[in-house]
């Protein structure tokens, strides 16, 4: 046998990245079968790019007031102009620019909270599920206590004492949000703990952390991704609700919920003020939900409806 007959020995990282490539392609083939899910990706991509490029998309400073041009209608109505494509509000601020800028807070908070909450949730869920016993009881009692509050009631009360602010909003949403991924991961870990691959790892002497993060986590990761995506939609709705009530973002940062609240007093005459930011929320959340469902169908066929 000549040496060239043997399969070429390739560095491990190349193999890994190739495997990732193949898996990604497989995933996409599965994902794009669901047409609605693909639409979801486009909607989310659209709003994310609006958020990223908002400094170049706005026509005015979103907080710039123009008392002489209050309540201008959108461009297609009588009296509208391209100067203010979606009209102006009660202080003469440009609605288009405010909605464009509003996407930043909503999306950034939604993704940041989901990311950190998932990270914390994974860690707690792994600990809770893998070790069981006292650690599990303590973590699960904390989860129970946090779940005993209706979400919004809890968030509103906390925001009330902490005061408006983006960072406070982040903390308040995060405070409770890690509970969902924690429960999901714990459930999956409980199932995985009895599986053969974990037993095999234990047999060769792997430690707890190795088993949790290297063996179990990759296997439960797909359900975590699905849950985290769907939670982004929920967090965006919560942020909008809090800002609508008036305990969310500070007054100088336009957010969709707050723009709706601003227009609320004038809806019978100037309908556009509250309608357009609402459409922005609806489309964004809808897109994320479609994406999440698509991910679930592609990654986790067990949960397919």
């Amino acid at each position: 046998m000549r040496i060239t007959d043997l399969p070429a020995v390739r560095p491990k990282y190349a193999e890994d990245s190739e495997r990732f490539h193949v898996r990604l392609r497989e995933f996409w083939r599965e994902y794009k079968k669901n047409r609605m899910a693909v639409i979801g990706v486009f909607i989310v991509g659209f709003f994310v790019s609006i958020g990223l490029f908002s400094p170049w998309l706005i026509l005015h400073d979103p907080n710039e007031q123009d008392i002489f041009n209050r309540f201008q209608p959108p461009v297609w109505m009588e009296g509208g102009s391209w100067e203010h494509p979606l009209g102006t509000d009660e202080l003469g601020r440009d609605l288009w620019s405010r909605i464009i800028y509003g996407s930043r807070v909503s999306l950034a908070l939604g993704m940041a909270v989901a990311f950190f909450a998932t990270t914390v949730g994974i860690f707690m869920g792994l600990l809770s599920g893998y070790y069981g016993g006292t650690i599990d009881s303590i973590i699960q009692r904390i989860v129970d206590i946090l779940l005993a509050f209706p979400y919004l009631v809890f968030a509103i009360a906390l925001m009330a004492v902490l005061g408006r602010g983006v960072f406070n909003l982040f903390l308040v949403l995060l405070y409770k949000e890690w509970v969902t991924p924690c429960r999901v991961v714990r459930g999956e870990v409980l199932a995985a703990r009895e599986s053969e691959y974990v037993e095999a790892a234990r047999a060769v002497g792997a430690g707890g952390f190795h088993i949790m993060f290297k063996e179990i986590l990759p296997n439960v990761f797909s359900s975590v991704i699905v849950v985290a995506t769907l939670r982004v939609a929920w967090i965006i709705l919560m942020e909008a609700s809090l800002s609508f009530i008036g305990v969310g973002v500070p007054l100088d940062i336009p957010s969709w919920g707050m723009i709706i609240a601003d227009g609320r007093g004038y809806i019978t005459q100037y309908w556009w003020l509250s309608t357009f930011p609402g459409i922005a929320i609806l489309l964004t959340v809808l897109g994320i939900n479609l994406m999440g469902q698509g991910l679930r169908d592609a990654l986790d066929p067990r949960l397919k409806e």
Binding site: I145, F149, A157, A160, S241, F244, I267, I281, L282, L286
Partner: protein, 336 residues
């Protein structure tokens, strides 16, 4: 029907640490404020140092924290929920005066959500992939993607411009029926006051539809998927083979079992209803507990906020207990 009492008592005992944790969190709410809560509540510079001291002592804020917490707990046990600074009344009385309005709104919202979710859920499961199924699925998706307060505003825009439905309050001025239960719809039926009934109904419809929609979407999805699961079971095929008609099988055999998970989901989603209730009450100026909390927040009436949050949490805990209980009663295979 045999109920395993040990199991239930076990579950009850499990809620004790939860309730203690809840009271701890509610208690610490006031102490989380950056700065002096009394000064924030009273508005800076509007009261003298002596008055601040007096209020601090009245609220017991000068005592060490563990003592304050014990006072808070013993107060709750005795039914004393604190003293509302804004209304200058015991918080319990303020809250109880608002409860009938919230209860009425939630019941009507629940009825509306079931009236939509039950038929649509059943039909879309029985006729899977039909046009109605697709419309139902899209509707449910829109329902969960739409902020509740925005839907409320859209409804106000659509229906109140020509004054079909009033947009604020529970009933027209001076039209309240004689008070029996505090629920206007029920009271006006009991006193045969149809004029009040019609007026109260017109007031409650838009807020109840807004609140019911978010619930309807979730309930519909559950009914649909559990019906789909049940329909494929052997006993359904057997019932059909016996010669029972399709509607008989669906309504008598399948629905009964499909409702088990649905009831649980409804009870668990009470949290959505309780939280959404705050928003909807604020949008429609509904004089219930939700708008009370929101106003209390803006009035910096922290004792009232604490008391109402506690009421919300306890209601929710009871709902969850009820969900577990109902689930085992209806489905004896399940253990806690």
């Amino acid at each position: 029907m045999k109920i395993n009492f040990n199991q239930f008592i076990n579950r009850l005992l499990q809620t004790i640490p939860v309730v203690i944790g809840v009271t701890l969190i509610v208690f610490s709410l006031m102490h989380l404020t950056p700065g002096d809560p009394v000064e924030i509540m009273m508005g800076q510079g509007t009261v003298t140092e002596g008055e601040i001291q007096r209020i601090r002592e009245e609220l017991g804020l000068h005592l060490p924290l563990p003592v304050q917490y014990l006072r808070f707990i013993t107060g709750i046990v005795k039914g004393d929920l604190g003293y509302s600074i804004y209304y200058r009344q015991p918080a319990r009385e303020v809250i109880f005066s608002r409860l009938p309005a919230t209860f009425e709104l939630m019941v009507v919202a629940m009825i509306i959500s079931l009236a939509i979710a039950l038929p649509v859920g059943i039909i879309s499961a029985v006729r899977q992939y039909s046009l109605l199924d697709k419309i139902g699925t899209i509707g449910a998706l829109l329902g969960v993607s739409m902020p509740g307060f925005w839907l409320g505003l859209l409804l106000i825009m659509a229906f109140s411009v020509n004054w079909i439905f009033p947009v604020a309050g529970r009933i027209g001025f001076g039209m309240a029926p004689q008070r029996i239960t505090g629920l206007y719809l029920l009271d006006s039926i009991l006193t045969c006051n149809w004029f009040s009934f019609w007026n109260a109904l017109k007031h409650i419809l838009l807020p109840a539809v807004t609140l019911g929609m978010s619930m309807a979407a979730l309930t519909m999805k559950t009914i649909r998927s559990s019906m789909l699961e049940v329909i494929r079971e052997d006993y359904i095929t057997f019932a059909r083979a016996k010669g029972l008609s399709r509607s008989q099988v669906v309504l008598k055999h399948a629905l009964k079992n499909a409702l088990i998970p649905t009831i649980t989901v409804i009870t668990l989603n009470m949290g959505v209803l309780l939280g959404g209730n705050m928003i909807v009450e604020t949008v429609f100026g509904w004089p219930g507990l939700g708008s009370l909390v929101v106003n209390a927040i803006f009035n910096r009436d922290y004792p009232l906020v604490q008391a109402s949050v506690l009421i919300y949490a306890v209601t929710f805990i009871i709902c969850n207990l009820l969900a577990d209980f109902l689930y085992t009663v209806l489905n004896p295979r399940v253990k806690f």
